[in-house]
């Protein structure tokens, strides 16, 4: 098992190398040269040249890449052009906020998906099955940033029941576990959970349906087990597939919450990324993308390893 995990980790090295190349390239995809983002267009040529030399942009690309990689590997992502603070600090504080939202959305989506999916798979009546299928279809089809706006319209504008934006009350310095902060989490959590809810409900339903048709379930019934005892066996067999799909979705939540964070002005990585794009703050753009991609890679690896641990029958090569 440990050997397998190590081998998978080793396999990630070339991928991580590719990822770093792509993230490095982001700066050079930008129109004009990277310096033009920070100096006014009428700056004298000597100043531009000096800045280019200072940032190392006068060197050939491969050298620039190696220098950037070397510095980045030590945990130094450079300085934000917008705020002048280290990129690592900015990303770290935003990352925590994103994780909090992602965890609550994942919990909500997974709980509902397991209940709905299991109900649909067991349902004798077609209506329940149809209804659950409809819910999961809605989940994967709805533009979630639009749903976020609709939620704000209903619960904040019309009912005045929940706050429309921010992480907490106006003087809040960061997330805390108390009533007002939790109230701010409700709408973003719901908006963020619809896509994983749709995807995972689908998976749970089809996986359990398939298991219910397998011979061992008939054998358990013949042995005289009660339905709830059989359900335990069924769930245990469905777990690896469902966990894997949920893990992937959780990763997508962390990397893809930018639209929801923008609607709710939630100070996470997505919000940071969005403001960095409009300030042309390329170091922040680079740093955030790199951290999120790295986290996504590690999460996928963890899901993979956990899946193999839960179900050793899965053959890997």
């Amino acid at each position: 098992m440990l050997l397998y995990a190590l081998r998978r980790l080793l396999y990630l090295v070339p991928v991580a190398f590719g990822v770093s190349l792509l993230v490095f390239a982001l700066v050079h995809l930008a129109p004009g040269d990277p310096i033009s983002a920070i100096v006014p267009p009428d700056a004298p040529q000597e100043v531009v040249d000096k800045l280019k030399e200072y940032y190392g942009f006068d060197k050939p690309l491969p050298i620039q890449y190696l220098r950037w990689l070397g510095v980045t590997l030590t945990g130094d992502f450079g300085t934000s052009i917008g705020t002048g603070r280290p990129v690592a600090t900015e990303v770290a504080s935003a990352f925590g906020n994103t994780i909090i939202l992602a965890i609550s959305a994942t919990l909500l989506a997974f709980t509902l998906a397991v209940i709905l999916g299991t109900a649909a798979a067991y349902a004798k009546s077609r209506i329940v099955d149809r209804l659950v299928t409809l819910i999961s279809l809605m989940g994967v089809s709805v533009p979630h940033f639009w749903l976020a706006i609709v939620l704000v319209i209903i619960f904040s504008v019309e009912l005045g029941a929940l706050p429309p934006m921010g992480i907490g009350p106006e003087n809040s310095t960061g997330w805390r576990l108390d009533g007002p902060h939790l109230a701010h989490m409700v709408l973003p959590t719901i908006a963020l959970s619809v896509i994983p809810l749709g995807v995972v409900t689908r998976t749970v339903r089809s996986t359990i349906k398939e298991i219910l048709n397998s011979e061992f379930v008939t054998a358990l019934q013949a042995k005289g087990l009660r339905d709830d005892q059989i359900l335990r066996h069924v769930l245990k067999n469905a777990a690896p597939t469902c966990l894997a799909v949920m893990g992937l979705q959780a990763g997508n939540l962390i990397g893809g919450s930018i639209l929801i964070e923008t609607v709710f002005a939630w100070p996470g990585t997505g919000f940071l990324l969005n403001s960095a794009i409009f300030r042309r703050d390329l170091p922040i753009l680079q740093g955030t993308t790199l951290v999120l991609a790295f986290f996504f890679m590690m999460l996928n690896l963890a899901v993979d390893i956990i899946q193999t641990m839960v179900d050793p029958r899965i053959k890997r090569n």
């Binding site: 070339p14 991928v15 991580a16 590719g18 990822v19 190349l21 792509l22 982001l26 700066v27 995809l29 930008a30 129109p31 279809l137 809605m138 989940g139 994967v140 089809s141 709805v142 533009p143 979630h144 940033f145 639009w146 749903l147 706006i149 609709v150 704000v152 319209i153 504008v157 019309e158 896509i195 749709g198 995807v199 689908r202 089809s206 799909v245 992937l248 979705q249 990763g251 997508n252 939540l253 962390i254 990397g255 893809g256 930018i258 639209l259 923008t262 990324l273 969005n274 960095a276 794009i277 409009f278 390329l282 753009l285 993308t289 999120l292 991609a293 996504f296 890679m297 996928n300």
Partner: protein, 301 residues
């Protein structure tokens, strides 16, 4: 979208070999099954209606979608002369929603078509040649897979700057890897079937085998997959415009309209939500079409 791309991850579809000699009867039976599927037919109808109204918008007698008027801002639904009201600059909503379909549908379909061509070609090449070529192509795809799809789309277009072309380019890049993976796995499976060996033994050239046997079997799963990708692409493209990274004002586009109408949620909330309804309907229809095609073509997810 994820957009997170909702269901960008798709397991390898299991292929049942299609006997190419009886190819015509296979597609005939697909058509027969589709005709008996009311949901898919309705969705197809709605989509045709959306595309047609977008295409023929100038001849529908609609108001000028660009004509602003400070006197008639944010009229509610059902106002005389403006069936769906007017937006924050006094432009006719019905007209803008229909014209908006032009860009929104175009921005959703084009990246998928491009990704289908490029990713399909790469995937079939990798699957058919195997060995080192496969290794190289698929490892490059792995790099793109290391990013959540929404993050990749936003970072790419964020770095390249706002604009419709950059949105198309970054979305195409996002969709190439999944298409490549699906076509690679299908091709690898097809390559292992006996009839490919038989064809080779009977002297068929490589191009012939690819054209007849590989393409014949890969097309179905890929089409089903691409249809569901369009739904993701439309949401993602609208999302990029919503962030201000896609189409620029004053162009009518559903995502951008949703963004500019956000200031109106206190005045006229129903109006502010309308562009999202269009995205929702389109996305549902493409997803249901994909399900219908999957059932009709007997492709297992």
């Amino acid at each position: 979208m994820t957009l997170q791309s909702p269901s960008l991850e798709l397991g390898a579809p299991l292929v049942q070999p299609i006997a190419t000699a009886g190819g015509r009867s296979y597609w005939q039976s697909v058509r027969r099954r589709l005709r008996r599927d009311p949901v898919t037919l309705i969705c197809g109808g709605v989509l045709i209606l959306l595309v047609a109204s977008a295409l023929f918008a100038p001849w529908l007698g609609l108001d000028d979608p660009y004509k602003t008027s400070m006197l008639r801002r944010l009229y509610p639904l059902g106002s005389p002369g403006h069936l769906l009201g007017t937006d924050e600059l006094g432009r006719d909503m019905l007209s803008r929603l229909i014209y908006g379909g032009r860009l929104s549908l175009f921005m959703g379909v084009t990246p998928v078509v491009c990704a289908l061509l490029i990713g399909g070609l790469l995937g079939i090449t990798a699957g058919f040649l195997g060995g080192r070529v496969n290794m190289l192509i698929m490892r490059i795809m792995d790099v793109f897979y290391a990013f959540p799809s929404v993050l990749l789309a936003i970072s790419l277009s964020g770095a390249m700057g706002a604009g419709a072309e950059n949105t198309l380019l970054s979305l195409t890049l996002v969709f190439i890897p999944p298409v490549c993976r699906v076509s690679e796995s299908v091709t690898t499976q097809v390559r292992g079937f006996d009839f490919v060996d038989a064809a080779r033994a009977s002297g068929a050239g490589m191009l012939n085998i690819v054209r007849v046997h590989v393409l014949g079997n890969v097309l179905g799963p890929i089409l089903v997959y691409a249809t569901s990708l369009i739904s993701v692409a439309i949401i993602l493209a609208a999302g990029l415009s919503f962030l201000g990274l896609g189409v620029k004002p004053p162009e009518p586009e559903w995502g951008l309209m949703l963004n500019t109408l956000r200031q109106a949620i206190y005045v006229n909330p129903v109006l502010a939500a309308l562009p999202g309804v269009m995205i929702f309907i389109t996305s549902i229809c493409f997803n249901l079409m994909s399900d219908g095609l999957r059932a009709a073509m007997d492709v297992k997810a």
